[in-house]
Subunit: 329 residues, 2 copies
């Protein structure tokens, strides 16, 4: 057995947390040779339910699960943490203005970023799942000046997985035969799902599907999939979001496959594809030696360029708004 | 890649089904080399929600998931099935008599047993999770005369996992260091959790805990854990039940570890530990060559004997009741 890793999950009593924790405890992120210690963070009114989840985690007798602890104090929950899934967020409710939403979430992700800065292990990896995920990641990252900025990521993997599923259905292929689908930008309806570099059983996807299908069906279906799930289930995506979070962290730790990239909401240092410095932006990335690196040499066609620009505009607007509120220096 | 396996899950839109399906699709039962086809069975009013779950399964882009189909017809859902998780059941509601509960569930598990008999693959393995699990397994098995009786099992693994968790907490050990805890009999408050053969880091558990603790704390805590979970979570055990179902099926397919047994609600042929023929009873079992076999040579102390007898009495009463109703020939 290797050294145990400490993993913090926020919003632990919620539906995504519930779907996520048992898969982490089963070894889905670090593999069969690494015990895990789970720290569950909740707001005070969620603690009792999180304790129930903790009881069920123990009741699963996972061979790799060394401990489960429940906290309502971020400083304790991130103590010595090697990995953080920031799931809990303030959802948008009816009549809520975007500025209110950003501010409410800044009040969550700012303090959590600071707690990570002050208490987490040196190798901390952070994935922001809670929406608006990209800008929440920016807020947390700005509150953690001592942590390398690229350790704060946001989740576009769910969008990538949804895009692969749609392409697989259309081309009558298995998802395992599809490579290099990416989703640029924002985990929101602005996102730009892109099959320009994708292959299906080795054939370029562009040769298998029409530009009309991509524009009229594929991109809107992927971008609006969350609403379709709510309509069918009567509840928002939980297990598929958790599964994408597992994929994101698994690949970060264990590496991506040769010749394949995955989509990560990655810190922009201003040198990639014209995306301004400071944003957390969906980029195609490879994971090598435990680090996600942006794939830098893709040719960008006009459609993709337009999609990237729209996402830059949307995320810059959010960035400027939280900066004006004082959450970014 | 090996040949795909078809797995049927009933009650697919429920909370246990939701926790179970994503772990199956991730490869947790058959491993990384075996694609799976998922058949989701629901009652008509659950179909829409199951379709939402199916959408999320596709959206997870599991490399091993070849297909997902939703049915409200058991004959179709079990067609060519290699493995069935019978999760959906009629829960006991306030004021419901036990006879009514047994009859309502017989109306579910009888037809499902017949559909398995008529349509499943020759190597079908069945796990009944829906309560009363032991007697539901008997009913399904009786409706499937062409399937070997021992292919119908009921779930005691959750009870075993809960028992291991309690023993680990008491002895300050990791669950991975505990072996051969078993739970005899009925997945109900009658069950008899037993550490007589258990070891903790190689030390007999009996040397580490007192008879008083076993009687006053351990056995009642394990037996009533379901109620404690409901009290904490405000919802019944779902992910821990799903995890135990995964463990049960994983070990059935892949084998148990050398020198270790696990608890299975196994068909009694009347030759083991005095348990009457025809019951589905929690026994210590090993899995060898893809079959669960009852461990036959354990010495039974007076306490365990008493526990076994109580469970025989409880399960025989249920057996006789459903026989009187005509569900068993």
């Amino acid at each position: 057995m290797l050294e145990p890793r400490t993993i913090t999950v926020t919003g632990a009593a919620g539906n995504i947390g519930y779907a996520l924790l048992f898969r982490i405890a089963s070894g889905a992120v670090f593999g069969d040779d690494t015990p895990v210690k789970l720290n569950l963070l909740e707001i005070p009114q969620g603690v009792r339910a999180a304790e129930g989840t903790a009881m069920e985690l123990l009741d699963s007798a996972f061979p790799l699960l060394d401990s489960v602890n429940v906290f309502d104090d971020a400083n304790k929950a991130f103590e010595a943490s090697n990995m953080a899934f920031l799931v809990g967020a303030r959802p948008r409710t009816a009549g809520m203005e975007r500025a209110d939403l950003l501010e409410a979430n800044a009040g969550i992700f700012g303090p959590q970023g600071k707690a990570i800065n002050d208490h987490a292990a040196e190798d901390i990896r952070v994935l922001v799942v809670g929406n608006p995920a990209n800008t929440n990641a920016v807020i947390a990252q700005n509150a953690a000046p001592d942590v390398p900025a690229e350790r704060f990521t946001s989740m576009l993997r769910l969008d990538q997985n949804r895009a692969i599923a749609q392409l697989a259905a259309k081309t009558d292929a298995f998802v395992r035969d599809i490579k290099n689908v990416t989703v640029w930008g924002n985990h929101s309806a602005d996102q730009y799902p892109d099959v320009s570099y994708a292959t299906v059983n080795g054939t370029p996807a562009d040769e298998l599907v029409s530009a009309e299908w991509l524009k009229d069906y594929f991109r809107p279906t992927v971008a609006k999939r969350g609403a379709a799930i709510i309509e069918a289930r009567g509840a928002s995506s939980a297990a598929s979001a958790a599964s994408a979070a597992i994929d994101h962290m698994h690949d970060w730790v264990n590496g991506t496959k040769d010749g394949e990239f995955v989509t990560v909401g990655h810190y922009s240092d201003g040198t990639h594809y014209g995306v301004p410095k400071g944003l957390s932006f969906g980029f195609p990335c490879v994971s090598v030696d435990g680090e996600y690196k942006i794939v830098d040499d893709l040719e960008i066609n006009a459609g993709t360029r337009g999609g990237i620009e729209e996402n830059i505009a949307a995320l810059t607007e959010e960035y400027d708004a939280v900066k004006a509120m004082g959450f970014i220096k």
